[in-house]
Symmetry: C2
Subunit: 345 residues, 2 copies
């Protein structure tokens, strides 16, 4: 309702008979101000309800204390967990977090990057959209010495920080897990192959088969567009029209895996006895579906926290060198009923 009763350090300076520089420094406990004066000023500021204007501070000091986040869609459990980690660890250090969703559109990602740049974020954490094949729009940050952390969905050739899991190995152990359960013909739900999270998973899958001398049947490897619930059921239906259907499914995400389970059950196919299934991510639905979905643990929250840490560490460095540092977090198989067959000795 009221306008402009915001008081500034100028007001405080006048009232307390100090210069604005003294006020400013006193409020941050700068060493050049005596403790007595600092206390006096801080108390007065508190009493009068002084609130600093971060915009002014950011402008002058060229430090917005803000981290920009560029992701596909917050609604995905993996993404929201990751952002939760980013926000929590950022706020702890006094940083704000601005989010931007690409909704998996390249154009959105580009314009969001501009907006974040204009807001002078002092670091950016990004997970590429499905469409993105060119990452030039992140160069503007690097050029200005602003740290860029790519997380999970990372580009192939961009010198910056990366926070990832080992998708190749994760897929390998997931596949091996199915093989250990006796699967001989394993299908793979692959994602868009230009995103290396998915291409690496496919590679890991294939390597595991090779290593265990299993036949690689191209018909069982399906490149899916969105790995959605609908696509999962549809692809499963196709697979089970084959003369020689699979006895195991390794899906690149949980959504499609759960969809497959529900579809197969409806068809009277038994899980895990006829078909063993393993997903990827450990979304909430995976522990609810019956039989519960085995999956790969994906440390979303931790990846978010680590990404924030990378940004903050970079900002503390003197040289501001933009090094390439790749952090690979641990994953493991979460073994649930959808894949575990009773030992038949």
């Amino acid at each position: 309702m009221k306008k402009k009763n915001t008081l500034t350090i100028y007001d405080l300076a006048r009232e307390l008979n100090y210069s604005t520089s003294t006020i400013s420094r006193a409020l941050k406990n700068h060493k050049s101000i005596s403790k007595k004066t600092a206390q006096l000023i801080q108390r007065a500021a508190e009493e009068r309800g002084y609130r600093p204007n971060s915009l002014a501070a950011s402008l002058r000091s060229n430090n917005s204390k803000t981290i920009g986040v560029s992701i596909s869609n917050i609604s995905r459990p993996f993404v929201s967990d990751m952002i939760s980690g980013i926000e929590t660890s950022a706020r702890e250090k006094g940083y704000n977090v601005i989010i931007s969703q690409s909704h998996d559109s390249y154009d959105n990602e580009v314009s969001n990057a501009k907006a974040l740049y204009d807001s002078r974020v002092c670091g950016i954490i990004a997970s590429l959209s499905m469409q993105t094949e060119n990452t030039d729009h992140f160069n503007q940050f690097k050029d200005q010495g602003i740290p860029v952390v790519f997380v999970d969905r990372v580009p192939n050739n961009f010198q910056s920080y990366h926070v990832i899991i080992d998708n190749y190995t994760s897929a390998y152990i997931a596949t091996e897990h199915l093989i250990e359960q006796g699967c001989k013909r394993i299908a793979h739900f692959a994602g868009s192959q230009h995103l290396n999270v998915y291409s690496q998973r496919k590679k890991g899958f294939i390597e595991a088969l090779k290593h265990h001398d299993l036949e690689i049947d191209e018909r069982l490897i399906v490149d899916m567009k969105t790995l959605s619930f609908e696509e999962g059921a549809q692809v499963t239906a196709e697979l089970f029209k084959l003369n020689n259907p699979p006895d195991g499914i390794f899906s690149s995400n949980d959504t499609a895996a759960v969809s497959a389970i529900l579809y197969l059950k409806k068809q009277g196919i038994r899980i895990p006895d006829d078909v063993a299934v393993i997903g990827f991510n450990d979304d909430p639905i995976s522990s609810i579906v019956e039989p519960a979905l085995s999956t790969i643990y994906h440390p979303a929250q931790k990846m978010g926290e680590l990404s924030t840490r990378r940004i903050l560490e970079h900002l503390e460095k003197e040289d501001g060198m933009h090094t390439t540092e790749i952090s690979v977090l641990e994953t493991h198989v979460i073994s649930r009923a959808s894949s575990v067959r009773k030992k038949s000795t």
Copy 2:
């Protein structure tokens, strides 16, 4: 790597022989600049890679074009959907969104509110933490004419915008739905009663029972702290130790409801025949559990979009009057297998 090759309107002014005011106005197509000059300047800015500094603009124009969001935890599906709605509609209009999680702690909520205020957000969208009973920390916004929108978890007596659903009626129709399926002894998983989303749901529940002349057994109404998965199973276990256990459950959220279903199934109790269950929210897990959970549709995304709209509308208003405007969005029963009994005629 490089530092300070950021060019400003001063640089453009010098190079193009115009004043900074002309540059500034030309870039925004201000009417007092001829189309020719404007084009010239815009083209030059484009070529040289000029990027505006939003911080400076925000400071001077006293408009940060940023919306602050205060919620409990992004990881909850309802919350992330809502934020997705907020972000999408905000960015469409050129606004940034800063998020802050309270993790259901009052103290966090208070300090987050300060941080958002200091960042000079030009509007705030908040959903209260579980702990919050006092909302004085939102007065600072109102006092400065900054619009406040409370969404979903709203306070009782705070003059501002509210975006809610009719929890009372939603609970009423959920309960009635169970009654229609033949339930006579319905249990209710209630949440923290100082949050009116939960107290209203309890009221709606009770009224529905009264209206249908069903006995109200206090032992069947459980005030839960977090409505978590663990708590859901535990409370269900207690309820079914009663001599006279319930034949229906209306849970204030889906998590606890799903937990109840899984627990009951394990006990050999049939859903919906022995016990019909309905939840609240329509989280993803509710359509995955078997039998699929009936629930109340909760328009999370729309609530987010509408909240943003309220902020933007307020900012466009001349007077800036901080009116109390309550928007109530529609809900409905989503009827699934967990509650629908075959007609036995």
